[in-house]
Symmetry: C2
Subunit: 350 residues, 2 copies
DNA sequence: ACCACGCTCTCCATCGTTGTAACGTGCGGC
DNA sequence: GCCGCACGTTACAACGATGGAGAGCGTGGT
């Protein structure tokens, strides 16, 4: 095992001072070279760059952060990485951030209200230039609490018209389109699967609204008995809820599930019970997680435009971070979706 | 016209200075309170804490990082968050880190060799006290390149006996146990699914070795035709490889897949082809990702002790970060596994 | 009464970087 | 020949926190 010198170990860091000394210039000139300050003679620049290369100098980001007030890191607050949708979102956010030279710190809230607030106010948020905030437990009534000094861009559909920029998908329209797709295959007894009782906004509320609009738009009435509550949106919850539906003897020929995880959970239970998909029951989900392309049968779903959401959110956040005018009004951006038809909704009934 | 400084306008965040002024003590005393320096009178401590609370003071982590040389952040380098195993690993690492007051910055390498090296040497690594390094593309021959000044703990099975601490699962033993489980259900024509040609170490090489040991231990010969290469270990690759196997007409009655994703991909293809699982073919995977509990049928698998790996890795890293004696020899730690039997391997054949 | 010691707290320097002001120099314009 | 300007560079002072030295003061031993 190689033994490091103190300098290499960082005990005595290679600093701008070292570089400046070796290149025979002042510290500030080194700084100027690194920050592409325009008025530097070409040979000076070259000399400095050579020395930097040679010594393997790398700027100390803590010092830079302290001095400039910017750290080059943003925070992504999500409920849970094990939830595939959020893992994929995190991936997209990191890609979008990397393009702009930003690094991402992920914080998991567990969908817990206290934790969501605590994270926002914790000292960690001081380490970060801006926050992408995707919450599950906060709601419209908490809008004011999100008004912190650090720039925040809100994701998801828990709070509208708040004090910050907000990026979301077109929930109502997408749910309507999914439902119309099912109606288009001739199904009429369609489960609205994943509702949250009395929720008006929030993903569940908005998607249920879109669902109902599809029926109204087609001049049909929807039987309220077919609205199925699913508390959390994990796979197991979907499975459990579907067991309840089957046990109740409720008749249905299609499922519009409000996310993919519960759709997959429900599909498994239906298949165990001998129902054929899509012949007996057609299914469509929401989110277009990777697994939907490989499930048996493959799952029709709504592609919420995850990459565009991430890209837009990071862009807005950057604008707030670098922007000088604080008084640009909060922006609400709705990203386009697509209906993706797969095996689970191919068969048309008469 | 007078130009106001930010401080005068009160735009600037509250610092220790503000707190010190308000509490009528020196800045250093505030610092001492925050850092639990023992010799402080109780009433002084209380007064300072009250002012901190009142002003909502939060320490500036850049400044602390600069002065103390520690940032309180560690980096987790993984190939891809969309890979569920790594998302779950990241979750476990973040939990283990949070316990110790550390934040985690995740870097995705995409399993690309250049990127893996670049990340290790980039200036971002200077923002971080230590690195958890889970690589796919580097190999034994790169061991020396991992010898950087920042403490590193290596995860995975690409490099052994390197210059850093290393936490891994018992690949050989686990694969052997999985295979013995299959042999125990009476299967004999068992696919070794997920091999990488000519790989000796690396997950694939080690697991294949354990697979073969099981046959040898039982005094059986394994037909080399049943060793199936799967290049990447994504679900789609498993599906594709299984299509090839089915097309070739190869006969088999069980699959030991070297990770869950390819097991699930293969299962889907077999089911499409009308094979019943576990009646016609028993399947076991590796990793115990959440989905294995919900697939149809549920998938038997090896639980690699993800949480323990994460916990151990973070602990070792902390020891290196805070440790004074640098010359503690690199440690290799192998975490225990469990065989988890589920529906995909329940039926015993005669 | 004196000294030594421990507790509590302050002062000062310092971490590595960047913003600001200002310096010298060479050049063109008048 | 002087002025003004652009250029290239430097000196100095921050940014907000912490480590170390040591000051003031009360206590106990002698």
């Amino acid at each position: 095992m190689r033994v490091w010198t103190e300098r290499e170990r960082g005990v005595v860091a290679t600093t701008m001072r070292t570089v400046a000394l070796a290149a025979g210039v002042s510290i500030k000139t080194v700084s100027n070279v690194i920050n592409d300050y325009p008025h530097i003679r070409e040979d000076t620049r070259q000399r400095v760059l050579e020395v930097i290369e040679e010594l393997g100098y790398q700027p100390n980001l803590s010092a830079r952060g302290l001095r400039s007030g910017r750290t080059g890191a943003i925070s992504l607050v999500i409920p849970d990485l094990r939830n595939v949708y959020f893992a994929e979102l995190a991936d997209s956010v990191m890609t979008a951030a990397a393009k702009r030279g930003l690094v991402v710190m992920i914080e998991q809230s567990g969908g817990d209200r206290e934790r969501e607030l605590e994270i926002l106010r914790g000292p960690r948020m001081r380490m970060v230039d801006g926050i992408l905030y995707s919450v599950l437990a906060l709601g419209q009534e908490d809008a004011d609490l999100v008004d912190v000094p650090t720039p925040v861009v809100l994701l998801g559909e828990r709070i509208f018209g708040g004090p910050t920029d907000h990026v979301t998908m077109k929930n109502v329209e997408a749910a309507r389109a999914a439902t119309e797709h099912m109606l288009g295959t001739g199904r009429r007894r369609i489960l609205a699967f994943g509702a949250h009782e009395d929720e008006v906004i929030g993903s569940a509320g908005l998607r249920l609204r879109g669902f109902r609009q599809a029926f109204e738009g087609a001049g049909l009435r929807h039987d309220d008995a077919l609205v199925v509550n699913v508390g959390n949106w994990h796979r197991g919850d979907g499975a459990e809820a579907m067991r309840g539906v089957l046990a109740s003897g409720l008749e249905f020929d299609a499922v519009v599930a409000f996310n993919d995880a519960i759709a997959l959970g429900a599909m498994r239970v239906m298949q165990e019970a001998g129902l054929r998909i899509p012949d007996d029951v057609a299914v469509i989900g929401f989110d277009n997680i990777e697994e939907t392309r490989y499930s048996l049968p493959t799952l029709s779903t709504i592609d919420p435009g995850r990459e565009e959401i991430a890209e837009t959110a990071v862009r807005l956040l950057m604008e707030r971070i670098t922007g000088t005018d604080e008084r640009i009004a909060p922006r609400e951006i709705e990203v386009d979706f697509r209906v993706i038809q797969r095996e689970s909704s191919t068969v048309t009934v008469s």
